[in-house]
Amino acid sequence: MQTMPDLPAGYQGQIRLDDLTGKQLVTIRHPSSLTLRILPYPGFVRMFAAAAVPFGSIHTTCRPGGREIVIPAGSAHFLEHCVFSRDDEGGLAGHLAGLGASANAYTTHDHTLYYFSSSGHFGEAFRLWLNALLRPQLDESRVAAEKPIILAELSQYQDDPDARCSQLLMEGLYHAHPVRTDIGGTAASVTSITAQDLGEAFRLFYHPGQLQLTLAGDFELAMVLDVLDSCLNGVAGKSPGLATPVFPDEPALPCRQSLQLEMDVSVPLFMVGVKDPVRDARTALDGLEKARRQRTARLVLDTLLSPVSPLYDALYQDGLINDSFGCHFSWDTSYGFLACGGESAKPAEAAARLRESLAEACRKGLDELIFAAQKRAAAGEMVQALDSVEHGGMVQARASLLPVDLFDYPSIYDKIDAVQALSQLSFLADPQAYVTALVEPRR
């Protein structure tokens, strides 16, 4: 790690050279307290930018400065739509298209991520995009115009068996935690959202000190700093204080263990969820520890449930799962759960076998050989990700939410062993923690 020379007054910067990949990561702290990470890609044409905002669908109650603020469900997602507000010239997306840049964004339970990429005119596109992000149109007319589009989006998910199955699972896993509500909110909550709600949420979560910017590509640093200075001018200094989220008490065990929905589907679906009881205090964990836990969970899941595992193979050979089978572990300071599933001709049997076998596999312990192979695969995938400007940029953008550098991952993998790893996910061995959600054809 070396300090960057020749930065303007008020800036702090460091350059990290990674031994494994030979690549650099530049981290700069803007005087406004915004953090920017740059992955240089010499010789590449593509340029990528991402902004991670720590505002997701679960942030429905906050207590900044002792005052409690209630934010309607779906506000994070609504705000994401408003950043792409349109005008007579097509709004942000239209203006960016004029520069050959394409932008997108997504909202999760715990964050919102905006990104765009271009193959030229990056400076202009970066300026437009950052301005839209820092100064979205949040008036009643904009909110009224966006509502039917968001409601149509929610209505579309009603026809999507995957989305319905996932939602069913969340409702089985959680009693009260806002993670049980769809990321986009409900039709009623979206209808109730006002410009004032969005304005308040914006002031709480979109302060430069909360934003994590990531750039990847072949840039001139001076251009980047110039854009930052001009866009952040007038924005800095409005911090309302830390937007500490507040969550209701959530029982350790699931709300319901078995849920079923009948829909017009040609192939049934199943999902199995396992609830992390969150018995430890997690709010004070540093970025590296959060990354270690996240990566550990990933290695355990790959060992137990990816095509390399005997469990996956047995289910596949017996025709209970197909290629669509997938699993993920979602984790934050206030909740955690494993979700896995996919299409199946015999969803109830698939779910039952999965529940029994997964709990049993956890009781037996991890296969050391498979676990070691997953560590190598994960380390290799980090290097592979860096072959792509967008992929590398996206991996770093997500890592910055913790916050860590993506170059931290290989050393994290080195330190994880199979026994420790499984102990972190000990709740997988508890049959009471399991929930099954099925989507079956209408009878």
Partner: protein, 741 residues
């Protein structure tokens, strides 16, 4: 291709489609004409033939004016053969032939001798004494005779239409890169390597020397970045074409001297071909050999750098007729090897081949269960080995690929080991010891997987509606089926069928191999050695124009299905886009982007943002069907309004009621995406595969220029050609009351 010379050869009685022209260089304009001929002959059941001359008419008509060719007659015939014509008729252009009247030419030769039912010509085609015959005369004559006439538009690239004379001028000016763009391949010079004075070897850079081939266009004298085809391989090289003023001041005939990088080849007496890629500097006279030597060292460095930075894909070698294309790039850590099998498939074969791909990539003799193969790949730092079945029109493409890190920090090559695994999967299948067929357990679990995936497409309402529209638009042709076939065919595949398909895969399908990424000599040699393990076979070659075959859209139709859905889905299919091999494809790409290909498009802006009629609405062009599809999800009570508004956007383009900003934005987005493709090895290799399938292999920069050159009038003209053929709607009562238990 059968070659007929002179008018004395007796011809088999056949109804012919005939392309007429000289075709010097067989450039992109000529290629479009030949592809059109092949396509129409395929549709009409005609023998495809070209009538041309061995010598250029200018030799006879303007004997005092020197004339140089882009290619010899042999080269021209070889290229025509490669394109897949049935016959070539080669005549000597003599004073007697020059004196033949246009009428006699048509009656005696075209109708009488060739029994032509179809003529394909360029707009400038002239024939008969003093060039009295032209396209207008042809129109009158063919109409009277009941012969079909197709006049293929000239192809415009860069400063104007592509012509052989324009390409000759570019080569003479040293603009060989531009010449290659118009030709569709680099300009080349070939011959037998002569014994030289070995001056190069003395100076440390041995050269292979050739005389300038007589009759061919002489490029500007100077130094070039080149590739050399010699001893069955292609090598990166540097070439000097000149009079050698420093060492041979009295030389009057240009000599070609080529130094091949990183190889010490003995080429004296060998026939080699030199492809001219880029002009580096003009020929220069130096005061001393030392100064010349210094300059050559600088040239070597520059050209080596040029090769390193150019990242061009080229055929490196062939093994048993299988070409190995190499795209070397040092920007990436990961290397890729793609084995691309292609075949014109029946519906049953689609299903059988797709199942075969899954079975082959599941296990092999060394790793007889899936988990062990997966473990081996994970151990190679997350290497991937995949099989994929795709489809372009009626051509099924089966890709077996590995992507892995070329080197790990310990010096090992995960990629090399992954390539070994790929060939083990492909060539050492895990067959049942008793009956020699694929094992039942593997076949059945892969069949279940595919069947479920196929059936699950219907879980996605928009995909279901699109699939139904596609099937109806194609009227039962294989073009409209999924790449993995139909469920009924998949269910019927037997283990015996699979073994037969496996044999077909290895022996009867076109096969091309693509190697990309940071490939050093040892990796290249390793892959070349693996290729030698493939069985020897005479594999067929797809011929753009003929294969993929064009798709005829079915009669116009409208289909409405009622199901319990929250949102109605609407898919509209238009025909009228140009053929996949046509130069006008660039206009179609731009039109799609303007209509609904992106978030700045008319459909997104008007239907979603302004009218709030849909959350999801977009268009996509299906170039192998010459069709454009529009897909939308709308509230059932707004279906009619949405359908009307969507059709109005197509009419808006046809009526020219769009501003220039829309077109500019689309151009910016498309060029940006094209540039981005250059940063992604997988996209670069896909471009190569697709370019060879369509017969329109273009460098990224050339694709960008074509998009930038599209005019407003071209977009309007093309939009006017669009005709709505098929409408499929899925609608009904909301499903939100789905039963929860």
């Amino acid at each position: 291709m059968r070659i007929y010379t002179g008018d004395k050869d007796s011809l088999p009685a056949a109804r012919r489609g005939l392309a007429l022209g000289f075709f010097d260089g067989l450039h992109r304009g000529h290629a479009e004409l030949v592809h059109t001929l092949l396509s129409l002959c395929g549709l009409r059941g005609l023998t495809s033939a070209v009538f041309t001359f061995a010598n250029h008419p200018e030799h006879v008509l303007k004997p005092d004016k020197p004339f140089a060719y882009l290619g010899t007659a042999e080269e021209r015939l070889a290229l025509l053969d490669e394109m897949g014509l049935d016959e070539a008729h080669l005549a000597d252009f003599t004073p007697e032939l020059a004196a033949l009247s246009a009428g006699t030419f048509l009656e005696e030769l075209i109708a009488g001798r060739f029994l032509a039912q179809l003529l394909v010509v360029g707009p400038d085609y002239r024939f008969g004494a003093r060039g009295e015959g032209d396209v207008a005369l042809l129109r009158t004559w063919t109409a009277k005779r009941g012969i079909e006439l197709v006049v293929v538009d000239e192809v415009v690239m860069g400063a104007g239409k592509i012509s052989s004379s324009r390409i000759r001028s570019l080569i003479q000016a040293g603009e060989v890169d531009q010449a290659a763009t118009l030709l569709g391949r680099p300009y080349s010079l070939g011959g037998i390597v002569l014994s030289g004075r070995r001056l190069g070897r003395t100076l440390g850079f041995p050269t292979a020397n050739l005389p300038l081939p007589p009759g061919k266009v002489c490029p500007a004298l100077g130094v070039y970045a080149t590739r050399v085809l010699a001893l069955g391989q292609t090598w990166e090289a540097i070439t000097s074409i000149g009079l050698r003023p420093t060492v041979s001041p009295d030389e009057t005939t240009p000599v070609i001297e080529t130094h091949i990088f990183d190889a010490d080849l003995h080429l004296y007496g060998e026939t080699i071909t030199i492809e001219l890629l880029a002009f580096i500097r003009p020929e220069q006279r130096f005061d001393s050999l030392a100064a010349l030597s210094e300059q050559i060292k600088a040239d070597l460095e520059q050209v080596r750098g040029w090769h390193r930075g150019s990242e061009q894909c080229y055929e490196k070698t062939r093994s048993g007729g299988v070409p190995l294309f190499l795209l070397s790039s040092r920007r990436f850590a990961q290397a890729s090897l793609h084995l691309v099998f292609q075949t014109q498939a029946t519906p049953r074969q689609l299903a059988c081949n797709a199942l075969l791909v899954e079975v082959l990539t599941a296990t092999c003799r060394t790793y007889p269960d899936r988990t062990r193969l997966a473990l081996a790949l994970d151990t190679l730092y997350g290497a991937s080995l995949e099989g994929h079945a795709g489809k372009s029109g009626d051509i099924q493409t089966l890709v077996f690929s590995v992507d892995a890190l070329a080197r790990w920090t310990d010096g090992s090559s995960p990629f090399q080991a992954a390539c070994d695994l790929l060939f083990a999967a492909l060539l050492e299948p895990d067959l049942d010891a008793d009956d020699g067929l694929f094992r039942t357990s593997i076949v059945e679990s892969e069949r279940t997987n595919l069947l479920l995936s196929l059936q699950a497409r219907a879980n996605d309402r928009l995909k279901w509606t699109y699939d139904r529209c596609l099937e109806q638009f194609c009227g039962g042709q294989v073009h409209g089926l999924p790449a993995i076939g139909r469920a009924c065919d998949l269910e019927a595949v037997s283990r015996e069928d699979l073994l037969e398909s496996y044999h077909d895969l290895l022996h009867n399908m076109q096969l091309s191999v693509y190697l990309g990424g940071p490939v050093d000599q040892s990796l290249l040699e390793h892959v070349a050695a693996l290729l030698k393990r493939l069985p020897q076979a005479v594999r067929p070659r797809l011929k753009p124009g003929l294969q993929p075959a064009p798709c005829h859209s079915a009669a116009p139709g409208r289909d409405v299905t009622v199901k319990p859905v929250e949102q109605a889905r609407l898919v509209l299919a238009y025909d009228g886009l140009p053929a996949y091999f046509a130069h006008q494809s660039s206009v179609a790409v731009l039109l799609n982007s303007m209509l609904g290909g992106d978030v700045h498009s008319l459909l997104f802006d008007v239907i979603r943002e302004q009218m709030g009629l849909a959350y999801q609405v977009f268009s996509m062009s299906q170039r192998f069907l010459s069709a454009l599809f529009i897909l939308a999800g709308v509230a059932p009570d707004q279906l009619e309004a949405a359908e009307k508004a969507i059709q109005e956007q197509v009419e808006r383009l046809a009526g020219g009621r769009f501003d220039d900003a829309l077109m500019q934005r689309s151009k910016m987005m498309l060029t940006s995406a094209l540039k981005a493709a250059g940063d992604d090895m997988s996209s670069l290799l896909s471009r190569e595969v697709s370019g060879r399938l369509t017969g329109r292999l273009l460098h990224v920069q050339d694709s960008i220029r074509l998009i930038e050159a599209v005019t407003r009038e071209q977009v309007i003209d093309l939009a006017c050609q669009l005709r709505l053929r098929t409408t499929v709607i899925l609608t009904g009562q909301p499903d939100h009351k789905a039963e929860e238990n």
